[in-house]
Symmetry: C2
């Protein structure tokens, strides 16, 4: 009977979901024991008990980002799986909420309404615009499907993959010239050494002045000073950031007073326990049958 250690800020909810699933032969504990062979929970909480889990075979993270477990000083003698394939729909709600806010000039309309002004001028529209994805994984594929639903052209920038059928054109080199052809640039990159400050002053300068930049990946992919500068100079129309190099965003950070910037607080696509528990339950059935687990993380690549 495998022993699982559950390490989550939502442990009660996860335990209820796992109990309801009547998983065969699973003992669930809340504190480390030498028998634990499965860990399920938040990567930072799992990291803290790694030394106390000598028989750990598999850790299922409740998050997409597993940076806390990637430190090269930590052991890597177990299978790490992350949360994937569940964030796309929520991320689409977030990203397209802000894209539509921008195109349909919702804030300007609201300002005119407050002045009791009937504003019959037309707004912009997503239809016909070009939507660029920096990183095309399962979240990117879902965003691409939403962009196509709204009649947009979809461009994707990846290291080499080009398998998403809803991406109309792939780019693998020369990020600035990729950026130059976009109306919207959405970054969904994980935090790895390769992605560090990939969105830099040159990329921002290449974006058209009417472009909107959205980051729902990790803050480290963006040169924050360069972005604050581009926004302050009006060299791009705006930015929407859900992630930052340091979270919570420090009280004295320049972004709090940067113009045309929307700050949300890493809430674009939360790990919802029912979604993540379903993912664990599926992987647990593979585990029992000694089949390959879904969504394994490559410790070197970092995702």
């Amino acid at each position: 009977m495998p022993t699982l250690i559950l390490l989550s800020r939502n442990a009660d909810q996860y335990r209820a979901l796992l109990d309801a699933a009547h998983l065969p032969n699973l003992e669930i504990v809340a504190s480390p024991s030498p028998d634990c062979e499965i860990a399920f929970g938040e990567p930072d909480l799992i990291r803290d008990v790694l030394p106390d889990l000598p028989r750990l075979k598999w850790a299922q993270a409740t998050w997409a980002g597993v940076e806390p477990l990637l430190d090269s000083t930590l052991r890597r003698d177990y299978i790490l799986t992350n949360a994937r394939g569940v964030f796309g729909p929520l991320m689409s709600e977030y990203v397209f909420g802000y894209l539509l806010l921008h195109e349909r000039k919702i804030l300007q309309r609201l300002a005119h309404q407050r002045e009791h002004r009937w504003d019959h001028t037309l707004t912009g529209m997503l239809r016909g615009k070009t939507f660029g994805l920096l990183g095309v994984g399962s979240i990117g594929a879902h965003l691409a499907s939403t962009a196509k639903h709204f009649g947009m052209a979809v461009h994707g920038f990846t290291r080499g993959s080009d398998s998403c059928p809803e991406v109309d054109a792939y780019f693998h080199t020369d990020l600035p010239s990729f950026a130059a052809g976009l109306d919207y640039l959405v970054c969904i990159l994980p935090n790895t050494p390769v992605t560090h400050h990939l969105v830099d002053a040159a990329v921002l300068a290449a974006l058209p002045s009417h472009a909107l930049f959205v980051n729902v990946g990790r803050g480290a992919s963006v040169d924050e000073d360069a972005l604050a500068d581009a926004l302050s100079r009006g060299s791009i129309a705006g930015a929407v950031l859900d992630v930052f190099q340091e979270e919570p965003l420090p009280p004295d950070h320049i972004f709090w007073d940067t113009p045309n910037l929307f700050i949300t607080s890493h809430t674009s696509a939360p790990s919802l326990p029912p979604d993540i528990a379903a993912l664990f339950i599926e992987n647990y059935s593979h585990y029992l049958k000694q089949e390959p687990l879904k969504y394994q993380v490559d410790f070197e690549q970092g995702y």
Copy 2:
């Protein structure tokens, strides 16, 4: 050679589009002549010249709403076609822009940002919510497809039709009990005697208190006093109105200061000349072949 009278506020743009299409055997004029057998333009402008077009066989409206031509004192001895099938995508952008603004608490996030507050609480999501359509024509079908894309359940209220596959459940009687089961009610009704004040105090009272009401059909479908009252009392969460009984909305109208109300100025889905010209061009080829025209209006039903 048929003679067409072009009567539009965008006449120059329409003429360029029709010229570029090299339509066979078509003479285009700008002022009424006894030879005109086709009129193409805005319904109010066509109405003004109806008496001067003795040989009129067909009028193609650039709008969806053709109220100006429905007055029972006007002649009805010609085929009237309206603009249809082109507004769905733009209407989806509008409606879902406001739905996402509401669910994702974009304005509240912005207010917290202005206070330099890191707000890590979760927002709502469209996924799993129920989207109600009052009227399911071609616009409703597109809105339904967008709602399904976002993982919503779709309910539709119609007089009898039930042919849209993306509507999960149809209702034909008892509008208040239809309303009671919704998170969002979107009205897309045309202005006809049957639809007058269909959304009244009873329907608004039946909506859950967290519900949002959206009107992109015609203002006359809504009892505006009842809506202002429901919003002022907080009996529904909010409303988004693109259409009003009187447009422009009069300067002293109660809506200007009604809480939780978003006013836009009949701009949700404009008639874009390239879309409407394409529709005319298709219908013109049917006309030349003496085939039935698309989107014929029933003068009695009013749409």
